[in-house]
């Protein structure tokens, strides 16, 4: 299962690569398929388009009762300008960025280490550890919010970045994604190193990790997206305005600005921009990440 998924699941792109099904001439059926696909694509793009158009309207045009794709008084950058003046979008973006980066980094390090042990080392208690980690996959984060909050209160970490970061670094499903990948690396590769008396850590760092770049990238992207977009936990664990992450900050904007539609849409687009850019750069890895790591659950 893991094997086939890892090596073959990358959806073939239109770059002239293998297309599985025999190409047939443009039949009626295929034309219909293009039409349906296009209708769906348009439906899926409308919210983006409408938000973008609104963000470039004047506030008066946005709240005019006549819905218009082409505002009577033309397009303007006013909404973006006032978001930058009034809002904390750059600060929130920065908060989201460094907390998500920290979560991703810590998750990768601790998960890869434990996955290596589970995959390659025979030690006492391994079975128990494995079962405990598997079982923990079903724990839904909302169940932990009350005790975690209380715990963070006791640790005096509420309203510090630690509160946002530390509870988000345990991803049992990711541990298993990594373990499955490590399982497939041929043992012959490390045997020479074992003969030379290389330590486990050295084998891990110099043989296993370099061979695991694709899966590490997939896990990293997956964890990063999750952390970047997480709302509930940062919402609970921070009240300090200077610490809000982008999703939590945006939530406060709504009430603060009231019915400033153009500004709301401008903020939403600015918040969406970083991940859209990330996606355009890492499209292949993200899709591969979803189709491999996604199998283990969200």
């Amino acid at each position: 299962m893991a094997n086939t998924t890892l090596t073959r699941s990358i959806p073939r792109t239109g770059s002239g690569q293998v297309i599985r099904q025999p190409r047939k001439k443009l039949t009626v059926g295929k034309t219909a398929a293009v039409v349906v696909a296009a209708v769906l694509a348009v439906l899926w793009l409308v919210p983006f388009a409408w938000a973008t158009v609104t963000a470039f309207k004047s506030e008066a045009d946005a709240s005019a009762s006549k819905v218009s794709w082409f505002p009577p008084s033309g397009f303007t950058f006013d909404a973006f300008a006032s978001v930058f003046q009034a809002g904390n979008i750059p600060l929130w973006t920065w908060n989201s960025l460094y907390t998500s980066a920290a979560i991703t980094l810590i998750t990768l390090v601790i998960s890869a280490l434990v996955a290596y042990a589970l995959s390659r080392i025979e030690f006492k208690g391994k079975k128990v550890l494995m079962i405990a980690i598997i079982a923990s996959i079903i724990v839904p984060p909302p169940v932990l919010m009350i005790p975690l909050f209380y715990q963070m209160l006791a640790f005096k970490m509420i309203d510090t970045p630690w509160a946002i970061v530390l509870p988000q670094v345990i991803h049992p499903a990711m541990v298993f994604v990594l373990k499955r990948f490590f399982d497939q690396i041929p043992h012959e590769l490390e045997e020479a190193a074992v003969m030379d008396g290389a330590s486990r850590l050295r084998i891990f760092l110099q043989i296993i990790l370099p061979l695991s770049r694709p899966i590490l990238a997939a896990v990293a992207i997956f964890v990063f997206i999750g952390a970047w977009n997480n709302f509930l936990w940062p919402f609970i664990s921070t009240n300090d305005d200077g610490l809000l992450t982008l999703p939590v900050g945006l939530q406060t904007i709504k009430s603060a600005y009231g019915v400033q539609y153009a500004q709301n849409m401008a903020s939403a687009l600015l918040a969406a921009l970083p991940l859209i850019v990330v996606f355009l750069f890492f499209q292949r890895q993200i899709i591969k990440g979803i189709s491999t790591t996604g199998l283990a659950g969200t």
């Binding site: 990358i10 959806p11 190409r23 030690f123 670094v169 012959e188 709302f231 709301n264 990330v278």
Partner: protein, 315 residues
Amino acid sequence: MSSSTASRQTSQARTTTAPGIKTGPSLRRSRDNVSGWAFAAPFLVFFLVFLVWPIFYGFYMSLTGKSLTGANDALIGFSNYSEAFADAGMWRSLGNTLYFTVISTVPLVLVALVMAALLNIGLPAQWLWRLSYFAPFLLASTVVSLFFVWMYNPQLGLINDFLSKFGIPKVGWLNDPNVAMWSIVIATLWWTVGFNFLLYLAAMQNIPAQHYEAASLDGAGAWRQFFSITLPQLTPTTVMIVLLQILASLKVFDQIYQMTSGGPGGSTRPVVQYIFETGFTGYRLGYSAAISYIFFGLIVLVSALQFVVTRRRSA
């Protein structure tokens, strides 16, 4: 999978019997015990502190009258639970969560299947379709909520304006208690269907081409091929997607809280919001923890069902 286990076994045999290693097998094994736990240790620390401990501590809290304002750590037994079972608010929110789960799972699986099937035919410009179906998944819930609150706006919103062109009267998408949950489902469908779509697409592209070649030699048309080859081959994927989706939908909170705050009149308030509110606005942490554990029980039940179903399939 099976090949990797086999190779592990042979190499284990090889390392323990390999000549030229000074240390005996037993010493090697005890060293493995140390290094195994050493590698597991960093994860284990976080795992114990931020997952295992809160699970047990949360359960302990649920047996106390702990509140956010003043400490009342005294154990009060299961009275939080008996109170919760008699609490109409909890049942209503649990019912809303189940309702959302049922009505969201069906479109989230079906639409994903349709999208993937369309792309699998081999449409040109694959990246364009993939991007448009999947891009919303990258957005934060807050962004999605801002988009949809704006589109659902009864007076200025795009959707009512569009419907009015067909003479359909204004709909209170988020104000009408009979409609609000469906509006949330539509927004959720738009937001997250791309994830299931990618899982389906990946699975479809793993189906060997020979199946289709053989079928088309036998004269099977595209529909026939889809229902006789694609769908049956996708069964394990479908089971997995349905179960993942159920578990994900049961946890719904973000978009509802942001779009309706659970309203109108509590008609969309999910159980996670009820837990949140009893804990953080009602200050009753102990009671809130008890409801968390009732909810947890529900999740465990679903997961157990999943286990049974997948077991039976593979057996």
